[in-house]
Symmetry: none
Subunit: 541 residues, 2 copies
């Protein structure tokens, strides 16, 4: 391998301890393939001793012929037993992987309280378990659980645990900050001490309970660790594991370590988003490096500066990690945000042009009334295309009506929608779990005859905000809607004095945008492709 830092991905094992994360064997295979394309060096696939799903994964992953080294996870042998007869250790060997990681106690307090055995027995458990793996010709890594807490409490014992693994033949000593409570300066100091005491390859495994997992990993690498354990998007128990999506670019682009080839580093954003889709976990919009807002600019001064030189407000070139610059439009922004958006759409925009100025004034006026386009790219695109004469709506709304009724425990919403397509009136009725769902269903029904692909469009997020513009005569309601189609997802906005009417406006925009996507090739797709087949959409609003 060409790198001098080895990336050990445990998304499929420690990552699945995160709340709300549950992966099938199929999901795990998809993720393993994606991780392999990214170029991580080790993929920890699971714990064959703990469940059948992981055994199935290790069987099926062989046919993928991955470049990454697959590793299985388990614990040191049970107390007062023999490694050769330990069911979990045997399953690790049977899984047929070339490498294994065993977790074992390094904190004397844990030996007493959690393991309830003697300090000597724990050392024997470590040494004998590693000797067993090495007799089975596996690469063997010792995850020294709670190493830093253990070291702070009893440094001699923590080091003795490492030495037991070394004596057993372990190839790597991986120092774990299991509870995530250690500070970066402590990590650096302790890793240095370990390097000095034991001449061994060192790994680092941190958790994010103090929002320091990335910093602690970098501190350990700075002190001599050469293996980094972490997960994509920082998935993991409690506050998560160290986030490889931040660690990899920090090591490579900021600290000049060799980690991944440049063309693979540029797959990072896509990898992060793909895995978040498979795991069905919303990615925070502001996630460093790979988030949708990581290179998004809102403030007017910032936008005018990045138009001159993007280095003014971007710490790296976003394309290095496969991300891209985005310009948000908001009340805080100047005109430059809108201009750059229109230019991206290929519209004939020109700041010296009277028409462009009128359009800008119109958008400013809408924002003043309470529209917010920064989270509604699709509505802004429709607005701009319409203003520049680049869009003809595929349908016209004539009227709608929606009713919600409750009698005892029975609740029902029903909507009636009347639209017009090329002079032909279409009149539909539908029920829903909520009034917005009923309207959405009735409108989809009205459009589906002419545009059958509209069936694949679902409402996937819905936000309501009462806005209180001080100089407006009455407060308004702003509704933001996210919709997902076969290939992508998009956001629209509606504003009205009536919450149902604002919702309706956002839905109408969403369907207009969906139909525009079917017509136009170069339509902007604000978000990445999603697995539309997994969505059933929101039906309760």
């Amino acid at each position: 391998m060409s790198s001098n830092i080895f990336i050990f991905d445990t998304t499929l094992r420690d990552g699945t301890q995160g709340e709300g994360i549950s992966l099938s064997a199929d999901d795990k295979l998809k993720i393993a393939k994606k991780l392999d394309q990214l170029g991580v060096h080790y993929i920890e696939g699971g714990n064959p001793g703990s469940n059948g799903k992981d055994i199935e994964f290790f069987q099926r992953v062989k046919s993928l012929n991955l470049n990454a080294k697959l590793t299985a996870f388990g614990s040191t042998r049970r107390k007062n037993s023999v490694a050769e007869h330990d069911a979990n250790l045997l399953k690790i060997v049977e899984s047929g992987v070339p490498a294994a990681t065993l977790v074992g106690k390094a904190w004397d307090f844990h030996v007493h309280i959690a393991l309830q055995t003697s300090l000597e027995e724990n050392l024997a458990m470590i040494q004998e378990s590693f000797a067993f793996l090495k007799r089975n010709s596996m690469e063997a890594m010792y995850d020294a659980e709670h190493f830093f807490d253990g070291y702070k409490n009893n440094p001699e014992y923590a080091l003795a645990a490492l030495k037991a693994a070394k004596d057993g033949g372990a190839d790597w000593l991986v120092l774990c900050d299991t509870n995530g409570g250690t500070m970066p300066n402590e990590i650096a100091e302790i890793v240095k001490r370990v390097k000095a005491e034991l001449d061994m390859p060192i790994g680092i495994h941190t958790h994010n309970d103090c929002e320091l997992a990335v910093a602690n990993t970098l501190a350990a690498v700075g002190a001599g660790a050469t293996q980094v354990q972490g997960t994509i998007n920082g998935y993991g128990e409690r506050c998560g594991n160290a986030n490889l999506c931040s660690i990899i670019p920090n090591l490579q682009l900021k600290m000049n370590y060799d980690v991944l080839p440049a063309d693979q580093l540029s797959m990072l954003t896509n990898t992060a988003r793909y895995i978040s889709e498979i795991a069905n976990v919303h990615m925070p919009v502001g996630q460093p490096y790979v988030g949708n807002a990581a290179f998004a600019h809102k403030g007017g001064i910032h936008v005018s500066a990045i138009m001159k030189d993007s280095k003014t407000y971007e710490h790296i070139v976003p394309e290095l990690v496969g991300n891209k610059q985005r310009v948000l439009v908001s009340e805080l922004a100047g005109q430059s945000n809108i201009i750059s958006k229109a230019a991206v759409l290929g519209l004939n925009v020109n700041t010296n042009n009277e028409k462009t100025k009128q359009i800008m004034d119109h958008i400013k006026q809408l924002e003043h009334e309470g529209y917010q386009f920064e989270a509604a790219d699709a509505s802004l695109e429709l607005l701009l295309r319409k203003a520049f004469g680049d869009w003809k709506p595929a349908f016209q709304v004539e009227s709608y009506k929606v009713n919600t009724e409750r009698k005892q425990e029975h609740i029902v919403s029903e909507a009636v929608v009347k639209i017009n397509i090329d002079g032909q009136q279409i009149y539909t009725v539908a029920e829903g779990n909520g009034p917005v769902n009923a309207l959405d269903t009735a409108l989809r029904k009205a459009l589906a005859q002419q545009y059958p692909d509209i069936e694949h469009v679902y409402l996937t997020d819905y936000k309501v905000r009462v806005i209180d513009e001080t100089d407006a005569t009455a407060a308004k309601v702003r509704v933001l809607v996210e919709s997902t189609g076969k290939q992508n997802s998009w956001n629209t906005v509606g504003l009205s004095g009536n919450v149902i009417d604002a919702s309706w406006a956002a839905i109408v925009d969403s369907f207009h945008y969906a139909l525009l996507s079917l017509q136009k090739v170069n339509v902007e797709t604000p978000n990445q492709a999603s697995q539309a087949q997994d969505y059933v959409g929101l039906t309760n609003i």
Copy 2:
């Protein structure tokens, strides 16, 4: 002040640069009050030169008599002009706050590219702007924009910018990692150099683009910075600002700095969650220290260990930051906030009592289903009074029906409500500007004959959140409502698979609470008396 680290909160200014965050003047006042209770030392309220909303905030915040020092934000004077005539600087002085922060360039590249002026003129802009603030007797802080990038490019010029601020009379030099691209070791080294060169109080302002904002802040404090700028929950542009919810406990509990009194630190979780509700931004379940999963343990080895000693898998005692342990398999008591709430209400609460335990379990179950009582004190009070047999509802709901219709520009909502008061059926119909307003009006009409004082109750805020509990079969909608009466205001919550039904439940709770207030003397009034006469209420939802 008793602390040796000063916390400078910029949630209301830099935090609002975050994507999807938009705060009204009312929202800002609520947040300021909450921040003041937490005990931050400075609250940056906004930029009076940029918009009318911030001017309104600074006018209205005076009546809250906060302990924290309010600060206004702006830029150094425009190039080739005079500070005394700078409209934005004048607005800062006019805002009447005791302190101000001015951002000014410290990176020569930015002076050339973004500011397009000479290096000398930029230094004059800095010095003269601070001299102006000091002539107006304000505490003055220099936010040295891009200080670390500037220092790495041209250390002499970056230091000259600091010196210009010092010469102008600035009280603080705040070193900003504006683009968030600096590594912790660089931060430590550069802060040390600044401390050595300029004998001045130093502040630190970091961004999270490398997932290092917290670590960089700690590194700066370790190197001598004594003011920390950040936001609650790390809100801010792109990947966010430094997260005070992690920094404060790290400094205080891990690094032994004096930051907040212990009883105020224990308000941290509540503060973070409250502000996320006001900002209407989902809090990540795994957010360090304050997230719902920060001290959550899945079944198995971890749970059996924490049952023996929670220190085995918890880096701090969660109650220190007002959070609590969650065990995802079995119920553990410890809802001290609910117990104390019940005690305040004079209810016969006793943790050893079987009935109290049942009530706690019931509330836990409701929270599991998606209720959230943190921002709905009035609903919690009703629930507790009902459970302890201390409340008889003043009315019963039999049914409701609501219709919304649009034809061309004419939109109308109409609601029919059937209730029962002491066996007497009351049946009313009302129009509204939105379906919720129509329901609210119809219910008020039904109650008004018997309880005429109900006329003074208005709906004053309304929030909808689609929640996606992973183990629930279907997503639900949570509606939070704020109502205001003659003397006070209160918050209620409704949860349902239908947004109208959730809204209805929150309104019904609100009127129940209003009627309870009329009956009871010692009823809890969660919020301070509002200027009820100013409210006409929300009618549009």
